[in-house]
Symmetry: C2
């Protein structure tokens, strides 16, 4: 039995949870927040969410966790069978993570928590995301999922990165980056219609509502 540590507002947590659900792996959820306390870092060494606990020990870093789950429970596969197609899927995962998610993340505190705008990031982030969107337009092969007829980790990353990143680009740059990639909106809808995603998304909405209530004034 796998234990999943984190909270359902975290998009990385939800990537792992969606994968567990898609694969039908048994797991339990354990509430945890990112923490620099040594007690938590003994499980997740950077103090980040999520981490998982297996019979052999703890594991952190979403990309490492996803590959572990794929190897532990190969079916249903979240990577294509063909070696080159697998590699292109991982290339898309990396582009979404490094150049969409991490770039947009520099504005998350402003967009989602009302902190001051990071003026330096305003100019720096846009060209990175522009390059990433052009890259995705070039290499995704929608039909209906990002890498074809099979749902893959590329879709897992997309579904849990683009909504937040798009909130940033829409507000700061007047730019809908989901509409900018042909097939992306349909791929996200195809994932969202699946039972696994419906469960993850419902839990996320409930957690988000609770989180906002807890963190709002009043």
């Amino acid at each position: 039995m796998i234990k999943l540590y984190g909270f359902a507002v975290s998009n990385y947590y939800n990537m792992v949870k969606l994968t567990l659900e898609e694969k039908g792996l048994a797991y339990t959820e354990v509430a945890a927040m990112p923490s620099q306390e040594q007690s938590y870092k003994s499980q997740s060494p950077m103090g980040k969410v999520p981490c998982i606990e297996t019979d052999e020990g703890f594991l952190s870093e979403t990309a490492a966790i996803l590959e572990y789950l794929e190897e532990r429970q190969p079916t249903p596969a979240m990577l294509p069978a063909n070696l080159f197609a697998r590699a292109k899927t991982r290339e898309i995962m990396r582009i979404i993570e490094l150049y969409i998610e991490l770039a947009a993340r520099r504005h998350f505190r402003h967009i989602f928590f009302g902190e001051a705008l990071n003026e330096a990031a305003l100019a720096e982030v846009r060209p990175v995301i522009e390059s990433a969107i052009a890259a995705l337009k070039q290499i995704v092969k929608p039909g209906p999922f990002l890498c074809g007829s099979q749902m893959t980790f590329a879709d897992v990353y997309a579904c849990h990165s683009f909504p937040y990143a798009n909130a940033v680009t829409t507000k700061l740059y007047g730019w809908d980056i989901i509409a900018a990639v042909p097939g992306l909106k349909d791929a996200m809808a195809a994932v969202a219609a699946r039972p696994a995603a419906r469960k993850v998304d419902a839990d996320q909405q409930a957690a988000l509502a609770a989180f906002m209530a807890q963190n709002s004034g009043g």
Copy 2:
């Protein structure tokens, strides 16, 4: 036959090259610099170095390339056989890349090219690297390589990330991060003694000398 695009000063290029050499895969090197020109981005969609060309097409993003090479030529293996040990190796790869390399990289232009110090980064980078070093101390199992008796991708990342990052931390923070991780220096020496690494490192030194000569005043 694989074509490897890039230049031997790039540490990511050298991670791929070291893997090709270790695995005894046939490859040719094609000189390329990072570029936002469409002609290069048609091969490497973010314009980055390295990318490789296979019979099935181009592939970029070092982490995706390394996994592809491992699947294409499984022996000698650069990941452990045990699933959990594979996952811990990938966790170490990610920690080195995201929290050592990418953090220190914010100072590369200052340290290696004489540009002005980024004062904001000075304060932001150190705690990230401190956390990463503490994480590595916790999870590496040296003997003599970072994950035990077998050379893995964790060593590949370490050998081509730590020398540059350590130049940054030594100069800016008076802190030797290689000495800070027990076993790391020995693991790096164990890799450096191998024929594959000797070739990569010799080519890197020659390229670095040519690069410095070309970019120095006259």
